[in-house]
Assembly symmetry: C2
Homo-oligomer: 201 residues x 2
DNA sequence: GTCTATATCCAGATAGAC
DNA sequence: GTCTATCTGGATATAGAC
């Protein structure tokens, strides 16, 4: 690829990112169907036709966002699992990291909301649905393993580890959704309240 | 009103209930815009035109459901508050009742999901938005008061009571959303795990 | 009350000029 | 690459027969 081609490629990627970023806000808050291409065009200060220069359809943009959402989430999960720390330490890091993301970065809550919506909705495009099916269990699996290890070393309550994991993620999810409507800075719960669900005293 | 008129009124109410019940499932799972009147017609085995005999618009049906959702929720809150029980007892009853509703009654999770969606979305019709604004704080207020009382009698941790209340509801909400996609019977967390966020040991 | 047929509108996607 | 104009399909809501 020539030098110019490469610059153009980068410009193109920039534009695509801009579209995705505008679309994320809209999709998360309105859902796939209620978000119009004209909304995305307006949000990104492009013409309607130009959007189609970068993406073939509205559903493509949506699916791309779902891909990114899981990529970020799963990457964070694996990093967490590989960290040098006790299970209890990992759980604290997970909650801290997630709460920090939800308060400091507007997009974090939107990504959570997007995944929640896409998982629940039955108008989710097939390609996105497939991605969800393939990746959705990873965060649950990772947290289940960490809880199991914490039960072995005696720091975590002996409930079913899978259920603890589900409760962990549903709690985070509930918070993310609350923050999506009340604002990222609206409120951040005390770390110790959430951990008290899992840690022995 | 004559006897016949009264019977007709009842029949009419029956039909309206049937529409609402079908629409609840669809709205909760697809959102307002993605749900077509033809979907509701199919779900309730009526013709498309007939729906308009009972409701003036799709948004009217939606708004009616939001009204019902809050009516049920707020009524339960007030009953809880008036019950003869200690604050701790009330919190246990609340969680038990909510979990039971979420597992035994399909509609419960759907109502929670509907409220969550309508609160977050910015395509929610104005009338529905007004209802939310007027009623949304009630459940938070009621639980805040109960937590405060529990702090006075020494059974509840001394975190900010409002924040405990928000955490309480976001946790329930997260669970409701999980159940909406994984099925009402998919999993029910142990009562004691959730209460451990709030109760001193 | 219930249905079918249809007017009307609007959104997704495309075509083609620049 | 970017825009404007337009085609096309589909959804809301209405009209009118039964």
């Amino acid at each position: 690829m020539s030098r110019n081609q490469q610059i153009n490629e980068e410009k193109k990627e920039e534009r695509k990112k801009k579209i995705l970023s505008g679309a994320l806000k809209l999709f998360a808050k309105r859902g796939l169907v209620a978000t119009k291409i004209s909304d995305i065009a307006q949000e990104t200060a492009m013409s309607q036709g130009l959007i189609y220069h970068y993406y073939n359809s509205k559903e493509d943009i949506y699916t791309e966002l779902i891909k990114t959402a899981f990529k970020k989430l799963i990457e964070a999960c694996y990093i967490l699992e590989k960290t040098e720390a006790t299970p209890k330490g990992k759980i604290i890091m997970a909650i801290e990291g997630l709460l920090k993301g939800l308060t400091d970065n507007e997009d974090t809550a939107l990504y959570h909301l997007l995944i929640a919506q896409a998982t629940v909705s039955d108008v989710t495009p097939n390609e996105a649905r497939t991605i969800i099916k393939e990746h959705n269990t990873v965060p649950y699996d990772v947290m289940t393993r960490i809880f199991e290890q914490g039960q072995k070393d005696g720091t975590i309550y002996h409930h079913n580890a899978r259920e603890l994991s589900i409760l962990f993620w549903t709690t985070i999810n509930g918070l993310a959704i609350y923050k999506s409507s009340h604002g990222a800075k609206s409120f951040t719960p005390d770390l110790s309240i959430i951990t008290s669900m899992f840690f022995k005293k």
